[in-house]
């Protein structure tokens, strides 16, 4: 087996294992037992949180920052395209160029957000080095995934960068790839239970 | 904290415009605060009877009186109190009477 592919496998195991450990640690804080009577349906709130609640029109913050939202969507789509390419590569199924284009577009989204973080004082003010490291690793991953579709000689570099990304992911803020889900769940359950979400009007 | 210059005397007000030292209160200071803090140019006899009652109650009980007692003792009707003191009995009348800010949602 190609040692780089083996490295990716090992890094994936590390990443998944470390995320599981992080998740168990938050679970260890325990569940909050609630005594008040629900006014609404927590499950309906959770369903809303993962569906319409994520739509751009549900959030003023998105409506006011359409470019950031667009960059963010592009970025995440690009990363998922990169992950799809990685899966295909590991399965020996080749790297379709259409996915490569999506990944490259994603990388431009990542670069745009990195630029915003560097040059907007307020965003720089709420950032720590991890924010930059995480962005560079994920942007690099999407970019190299895309480049490899067109220039196969970049495959090794891409895989090395993938290993770095997977090793780092649970250590920094990329862990939100996991914690997004429980956060969104608790958000929906809270507002659902209180009868606030889904909205009435 | 802010400081008002009252005829050459430095009067300290807390963040909410209440006297830091309630003991320095005088009627002249009340009239001055009425203008500076409440925008009241002229205090009428009704104003004074409410202010004097609140002051007396404060000196005796170390607290602001109920609006019930203000009306009952001074004979000023309830709705008139709100007209006399646009900021209300607490942030208007009690402030002019040199009381500290009452606790609670006021």
């Amino acid at each position: 087996m190609n040692p780089l592919l083996a490295g990716v496998m090992l890094a994936t195991i590390w990443c998944a294992g470390a995320l599981v450990v992080l998740y168990m640690r938050t679970k260890a804080f325990g569940v909050r037992q609630l005594h008040s009577r629900p006014a609404g349906d927590a499950r309906a709130g959770v369903r809303y949180a993962f569906t319409q609640g994520m739509a751009p029109q549900a959030k003023e913050s998105v409506r006011m920052n359409p470019l950031s939202y667009l960059a963010g969507m592009l970025y995440h789509t690009g990363i998922f395209a990169g992950l799809a390419l990685l899966g295909l590569k590991l399965s020996g199924l080749g790297t379709p160029r259409v996915l490569g284009i999506v990944a490259l577009l994603g990388a431009t989204g990542g670069i745009a957000l990195l630029g915003k973080r560097m040059f907007k004082a307020h965003l720089r003010g709420i950032s720590c080095p991890d924010d930059f490291v995480s962005n560079l690793l994920a942007t690099g991953f999407a970019a190299l995934a895309g480049i490899t579709c067109f220039l196969p000689s970049f495959a090794s570099l891409w895989l090395i960068e993938t290993i770095a990304l997977l090793i780092y992911a649970p250590l920094g803020k990329i862990r939100h790839c996991l914690f997004f889900f429980p956060t969104r769940y608790h958000f929906g359950a809270f507002f659902g239970r209180r009868g606030v979400l889904p909205p009435t009007a | 904290m802010s400081v008002l210059d009252f005829n050459g005397t430095q009067v300290q007000l807390n963040e909410e415009g209440f006297l830091v030292e309630p003991s320095i209160w005088t009627e002249e200071l009340a009239a001055f605060l009425a203008l500076k803090e409440e925008g009241l140019e002229q205090l009428t006899e009704d104003h004074w009877s409410v202010i004097r009652f609140i002051r007396g109650h404060f000196l005796e009980n170390d607290s602001a009186p109920m609006v019930r007692a203000m009306c009952k003792t001074t004979g000023v009707p309830l709705k008139r109190i709100y007209e006399l003191f646009p900021s209300g009995p607490a942030k208007g009348a009690c402030k002019l009477a040199g009381l500290p800010k009452p606790d609670g949602c006021v």
């Binding site: 909050r32 003023e60 913050s61 709420i126 956060t183 | 963040e15 009995p89």
Partner: protein, 441 residues
């Protein structure tokens, strides 16, 4: 000594044991939800404009994510591996005097716990939950703003947060009863006190009997018109407020809640009805049972729900022509975004006022008036409170309404100050006041 000097003196006196105690309390307030939240912020910064503090004063410290990061930094340093191994990389900071000062500034000085940022968070973090945990930790370190704590202490000592004596309360109730009898021309119109077995125990905000009894009279008039079987109580349990929601000391909040529970048991009432008060409603309806760690054997309702039912069932009739002026509605955060009471007040207002217009945004997206989270009790931050209320002042202006209605005495107070500060020239009323004036036989 000013509050600011006082804070510095307290910070100077903090010992390592104080920091440890604060951290322990902080940790004890976190459950899996909060632990997930603390791992979820990606510092995207899109929350900034959701905050009325930031809108009116766009400085870094007012960004919700910046406030959260102040809290999360300490969490990372003390409770996560990466925060211990590589604090510089992940922005972890030890709890010390400077961080304690930053916490006080962030969670008491720049936040009304309104939760508007939660709805606008990319991920969905419930930021107020974490700010509450931080307030509790600061309380354990003796850093609760003294005037906020005094309000809680007064409630614990006197059974109401304005130290009103039983005699003064009862006398005011009797006086308002006479006033109601004059207003209605009905010598049988009552404000019943300690009526055993009444269906409803009605609770009020102490500022009503103390300074603003017309809103109590208005609520009583609605009950009178609906021929409701209701009562007030002369003893502890008539005050619906609970500033324990704001100092975030759950034990104290629980003791205050217990007054309501005891009054319900003493009088054998079926339903506890909370007068127009946002935090009072959230405390009784949502938090009280959590503080006491057990369910209530009775139902808790807002008077808004009750008035809505009266209209639906034809128990009261109103004529909107009695309110020809343009009316708008301010949504208290604790009643709407955090309380789930959203449409009742709208149905009631549409029925009782001819020209009702919504603010934009409204309902769960509404802006805080700036007076929430105990801000009205913290003199230290008055300038920020009034400044942050500029957002609300603009919303009100945009409606061109002459009357602003809000079902919360805390909001009424802040709106009154905004009225003066921003020269809005509006009248500020509670919903019951609008309904009472619109009643027809």
């Amino acid at each position: 000594m000013s509050d600011v000097d006082e804070l510095e003196t307290r910070l100077e006196a903090l010992t390592e044991a104080d920091f440890q105690r604060g951290l322990e309390v902080f940790r004890s307030k976190l459950k899996e939800a909060e632990a997930a939240f603390l791992n979820a912020c990606v510092h995207c910064g899109l929350c900034a404009e959701s905050c009325h503090y930031y809108r009116m004063d766009p400085v870094l410290e007012n960004i919700p994510a910046a406030k959260l990061e102040t809290i999360a930094a300490v969490f990372k340093r003390h409770f996560t591996t990466m925060g211990k191994v590589a604090p510089g990389l992940v922005g972890a900071r030890s709890m010390d005097k400077d961080m304690a000062r930053a916490w006080v500034d962030a969670v008491f000085g720049r936040c009304s716990l309104c939760g508007r940022c939660s709805l606008n968070c990319t991920v969905g973090i419930l930021l107020p939950r974490l700010f509450r945990a931080a307030r509790a930790a600061l309380g354990a370190m003796g850093l609760t703003p003294p005037d906020l704590q005094a309000t809680v202490d007064t409630a614990l000592k006197h059974g109401n947060n304005m130290a009103i004596t039983r005699e003064d309360w009862v006398e005011t109730v009797q006086w308002i009863e006479e006033e109601l009898q004059m207003e209605t021309g009905d010598p049988e119109a009552r404000l019943p006190l300690d009526k055993h077995g009444a269906k409803i125990l009605f609770t009020v905000n102490p500022r009503e009997p103390k300074f603003f009894p017309l809103s109590l009279q208005a609520s009583a008039k609605v009950f009178w018109a609906a021929k409701e079987d209701w009562t007030l109580t002369a003893d502890h349990g008539w005050d619906l407020t609970n500033y324990g929601l704001f100092n975030c000391k759950d034990e104290e909040a629980g003791l205050i809640t217990q007054n309501l529970v005891d009054a319900m048991a003493r009088l054998g009432c079926e339903t506890l009805v909370i007068g127009e008060c946002g935090h009072g409603f959230a405390s009784a309806r949502w938090e009280g049972e959590e503080w006491l760690k057990q369910g209530f054997p009775f139902k808790v309702m807002s008077i808004l729900e009750l008035m809505d039912e009266y209209l639906r069932d034809g128990r009261i009739k109103v004529d909107p022509a009695k309110h020809p002026k343009k009316v708008t509605l301010h949504d208290p955060c604790n009643l709407v975004r955090h309380g789930g009471i959203c449409e009742a007040q709208r149905r009631v207002l549409r029925a009782s006022a001819a020209d009702f217009v919504e603010m934009t945004p409204n309902r769960e997206h509404n802006f805080c008036c700036g007076g929430g989270g105990g801000q009205l009790a913290m003199g230290r931050y008055k300038a920020r409170r009034l400044n942050s209320g500029g957002m609300k002042a603009q919303q009100i202006r945009d409606t061109a309404a002459e009357v602003v209605v809000t079902p919360c005495h805390n909001c009424v107070d802040q709106l009154g100050e905004l009225n003066k500060e921003y020269k809005l020239k509006v009248q500020i009323k509670t919903v019951a006041e609008i309904v009472a004036d619109a009643l027809v036989p």
